[in-house]
């Protein structure tokens, strides 16, 4: 038996189930309302047997189970998500839950065709003389001594310039 404290939780559970069925575009208002009430009744029964179970959790578990049953019956052999997408492709949610569409042939819903693999690999490329020059510059050329020498000579140049300006310039 529900207590007064639990009533807002059942209201929220009812809204939640309605929202979920609406988000999936299932049926019309009347069908959704009927199904929601049925789900809530079952959830209440479960909560009565299992008092620690939260009404929202119970209601949504019932919703998921109900949908899974519908999808499994309608598109046997397909995983739940693929089944539901297949049903959506046939506009089945609009007439849910009255019409079972198991007799309809499922369209090819693959996002891509079967693989037919090819080997696509770059061929060796000879870039000519520039490749050799670049290779020698980057890989073989000893930049360290050159940069050190350049730094030393730059320092000598500026020091000389300063010395000239400071002591020798007229």
């Amino acid at each position: 038996m529900d207590t007064l404290r639990e009533q807002p939780e059942w209201d929220e559970a009812t809204q939640r189930v309605q929202a979920y069925l609406t988000a999936l575009g299932l049926g019309g208002v009347e069908a959704r309302t009927r199904e929601t009430l049925r789900i809530i009744e079952q959830a209440r029964a479960r909560c009565a047997a299992q008092p620690s179970l939260h009404p929202i959790k119970a209601a949504m578990e019932e919703t998921f189970a109900s949908l899974a049953r519908w999808v499994a019956e309608s598109t046997p052999g397909l995983p739940f998500e693929s089944g539901l997408v297949t049903l959506r492709a046939q506009d089945a949610p609009a007439v849910w839950p009255r019409v079972r569409v198991s007799s309809l042939a499922a369209p090819a819903l693959e996002a891509a065709p079967d693989l037919d693999l090819s080997r696509m690999a770059a061929r060796d490329m000879n870039f000519g003389a520039f490749e050799t020059i670049a290779h020698e510059t980057w890989q073989k050329f000893a930049w360290g001594p050159v940069l050190r020498a350049a730094a030393i000579w730059t320092a000598i140049f500026f020091l000389s310039l300063y010395a000239y300006d400071r002591f020798l310039a007229p």
Binding site: Q18, E81, D116, A121
Partner: protein
């Protein structure tokens, strides 16, 4: 009936004659101009500065002379009844029906694009093919590399909605790449490796491409007719522009491009270039020979080729296949960038790609025509720093001469001896720059009604010339910056291209983006007024361009100005005339967005994937089935799920968000947790999503 053309019957003499006349004309005109400049320098002996100027002048004049002769040869061909040696003439003009269509994949690589626009374009092409009766042989592939969750989910929804509406499941495919390696070329190569063997041809499009069903069919017919052809590039026309920038671009392209294209075909014939989209490719040789090699640069440098197209054409030629340019075929369209800022962002990427092509310039086995394409591509950007250097050295040289001549000359004697070759040189340069525009306008005059009438055609051409003359100096500065950044190895991000022109940027925003050219302008004006005031009139167009750059960039980016000029009948192109516009363009411009494709758009990112059951089920059904994750990964995913629920989506990095989006089990668990928990136990972001869902579900 036009005489049919057989590319197999092209003789070596015919090709040699064409190339000798074209390159002979470039060499002769460049040589003449260089000789005139040399004569100007000669009297006092050639200084180092003059030597530098001479070398730069030869390089730069060669480039503009190439453009000039392309148009002249194109003009001459037009006057003599049009080109006979063109790929379009290998099939009848009315060949649009394919009796036994070969398997052809139309591939559309996308990267964070405007989803609605992409799918509208695809639908237009699909409908166009159906109207031609040829949809049977064509499969469409949307190859997504989008790295924003919103884009990914919206693309999936749009794909599903489109397939459902067109009953095209199994014909229009969607593939999201898990690891986006090597940008667009990697995306296309991934398609080739997975499904290339199923198809004989691949038509490569860009996100903004529109190709009419008739042209798609004709491209396949041309390939079937010519087994030795590996690639046919069409000439995409810019269309659907709204901002002033787009409208002047599409007008200029519509007016001048046919002559440039005819001139190009004149010399390269079977050695055409590939522009990366709106082209058909024979898949077997492409897969076997056109994968891009790594560049011989050090490991720390970027080794992948950024711009794939030119090199793929070169590799196709190296493999022994012809590459043609179907430039007279109507029905190939694209949309350009809506403003100068976006145009420069695109050029930043292209500049790196084109400069990288330098490696192939001297590589053995590359066809001469491809070497020239590579050279022109390199010069398209390298010419900017060279022009700037030429301007600086020229001004410096004049300033030095001015100083010495003032010391030496008698009062009243002109310090700038402008006699001799200087005026002739100036006239020659102006002719080379502006005569192509004049010839193109002249050729369009008999059919000027397509451009809004003769008077409007002339006025539009004059304004377009003025605008580009003023924009060119600013573009030169940015291209110079790009070249320097590229040579310095400063990396660039592969950004999505903005193709929307609904709203122009603000003036403040534009000034912040374009402050460098005015600073250049002020400094250069001050320097010239100080040292060589006599050259101010000559150099004023450049200075004015620098000073006005932000204003011009802002003004040209405005849609209202584009709308206004359209109302005045300026910059009209034939595709803006409702009577002559192809149905595919009308469809893209007028079709309303598909409301069913984006029903959950109030929710964003991973919240949408978790909260919206429609999005979730579609997304999970499209993920490849994988074995359960190993323990370490499962623990990692669990920690991500926990953080996502308790701390909200903002707590996860993009990489972490994608880890969850790729994992079907995580999404299922999150979905249940979201819907099964009371609102007051959820993070505020999830509570907000729930509020949206409940509000939408309220009776």
């Amino acid at each position: 009936m036009k005489e049919r053309f057989d590319p197999g019957k092209l003789t070596a003499d015919f090709v040699a004659f064409r190339r000798a006349t074209f390159f002979g004309a470039i060499l002769a005109s460049t040589g003449l101009a260089a000789w005139l400049l040399w004569r100007t320098f000669l009297p006092e002996g050639i200084s180092v500065l003059e030597g530098v100027q001479l070398v730069l002048f030869v390089l730069l004049f060669q480039q503009i002379a190439t453009g000039f002769w392309l148009v002249v040869f194109g003009f001459l061909l037009a006057l003599t009844g049009g080109e006979r040696a063109q790929i379009s003439r290998t099939i009848p003009d009315d060949a649009v029906t394919l009796t036994d269509p070969p398997p052809t994949a139309v591939v559309l690589p996308i990267y964070n694009e405007d989803v609605a626009r992409v799918f509208r374009g695809l639908e237009a092409m699909w409908r166009g093919l159906q109207e031609c009766g040829n949809s049977r042989g064509f499969d469409f592939f949307i190859l997504s590399d989008s790295n924003r969750p919103d884009n990914w989910l919206a693309e999936e929804n749009a794909w599903f909605s489109l397939c459902r509406r067109l009953n095209a499941f199994g014909r229009i495919f969607y593939r999201k790449r898990r690891v986006s390696r090597n940008s667009k070329s990697g995306n296309v190569a991934d398609f080739c490796r997975r499904w290339g063997a199923k198809y004989r041809y691949m038509i490569v499009l860009d996100a903004d491409s529109i190709v009419t069903g008739r042209l798609l069919s004709r491209l396949v017919a041309m390939m079937e007719q010519n087994p030795g052809v590996g690639l046919i590039q069409t000439a995409p026309q810019m269309a659907l522009g709204r901002t002033f920038f787009r409208r002047i671009q599409q007008f200029a392209a519509r007016l001048y491009a046919p002559l440039f294209a005819a001139g190009s075909n004149y010399w390269h014939l079977f050695g055409a270039n590939y522009w990366g989209h709106n082209a058909i490719i024979r898949l077997r040789p492409f897969i076997e020979s056109c994968d891009l090699p790594e560049l011989p640069e050090p490991e720390w440098h970027r080794r992948h080729i950024f711009s794939h197209d030119t090199i793929e054409a070169a590799l196709m030629r190296k493999a022994g296949y012809q590459v043609w340019f179907a430039y007279t075929e109507e029905g190939s369209y694209e949309e350009g960038p809506p403003n100068l800022n976006d145009s420069l962002a695109r050029d930043r990427r292209w500049s790196l790609g084109n400069l990288q092509h330098f490696w192939f310039l001297f590589a053995p086995g590359i066809d001469f025509a491809n070497r020239f394409h590579i050279w022109m591509g390199v010069m398209a950007y390298l010419s900017s720093p060279l022009w700037l250097l030429f301007l600086i050295t020229g001004t410096l040289d004049l300033a030095i001469k001015h100083r010495f001549s003032l010391l030496a000359a008698l009062p009243g004697v002109n310090a700038f001896p402008a006699g001799g070759a200087v005026p002739l040189l100036l006239v020659a340069t102006l002719v080379v720059l502006f005569v192509p525009k004049f010839l193109a306008m002249l050729l369009a005059l008999p059919t000027a009604r397509r451009f809004g009438g003769a008077a409007r055609l002339v006025i539009s051409t004059l304004i377009e010339t003025l605008i580009w003359t003023l924009l060119a100096p600013a573009i030169m500065i940015y291209y110079t910056q790009f070249v320097i950044m590229n040579l310095a190895g400063i990396p660039i991000r592969w950004g999505a291209q903005n193709r929307s022109d609904d709203r122009g940027p603000g003036l403040g925003e534009t000034i912040r983006r374009f402050w460098i050219p005015p600073v250049f302008g002020v400094l250069a004006t001050a320097a010239i007024l100080t040292w060589v005031p006599q050259i101010l009139p000559w150099i004023s167009p450049i200075l004015l361009g620098w000073l006005l750059a932000p204003i011009l960039a802002w003004l040209t980016a405005q849609p209202w100005l584009g709308d206004w000029t359209r109302k005045l009948g300026l910059f009209l192109i034939p595709e803006e005339n409702p009577v002559s516009r192809p149905a595919e363009l009308s469809f893209v411009e007028n079709a309303a967005a598909d409301p069913s494709s984006d029903h959950a758009s109030a929710l964003r990112g991973i919240i949408r994937a978790v909260a919206d059951p429609v999005t979730l089920t579609l997304h999970v059904s499209l993920l490849r089935k994988r074995p359960p994750a190993p323990a370490a990964k499962a623990a990692y995913l669990e920690s991500l799920r926990h953080r996502l629920l308790t701390e909200g989506p903002g707590a996860l990095s993009q990489r972490e968000t994608f880890a969850l989006l790729w994992d079907a089990e995580s999404l299922r668990l999150l979905h249940r947790a979201f819907w099964e928990n009371p609102a007051d136990t959820l993070h505020p972001d999830w509570r907000e999503a729930l509020r949206h869902a409940v509000k939408a579900g309220a009776p």
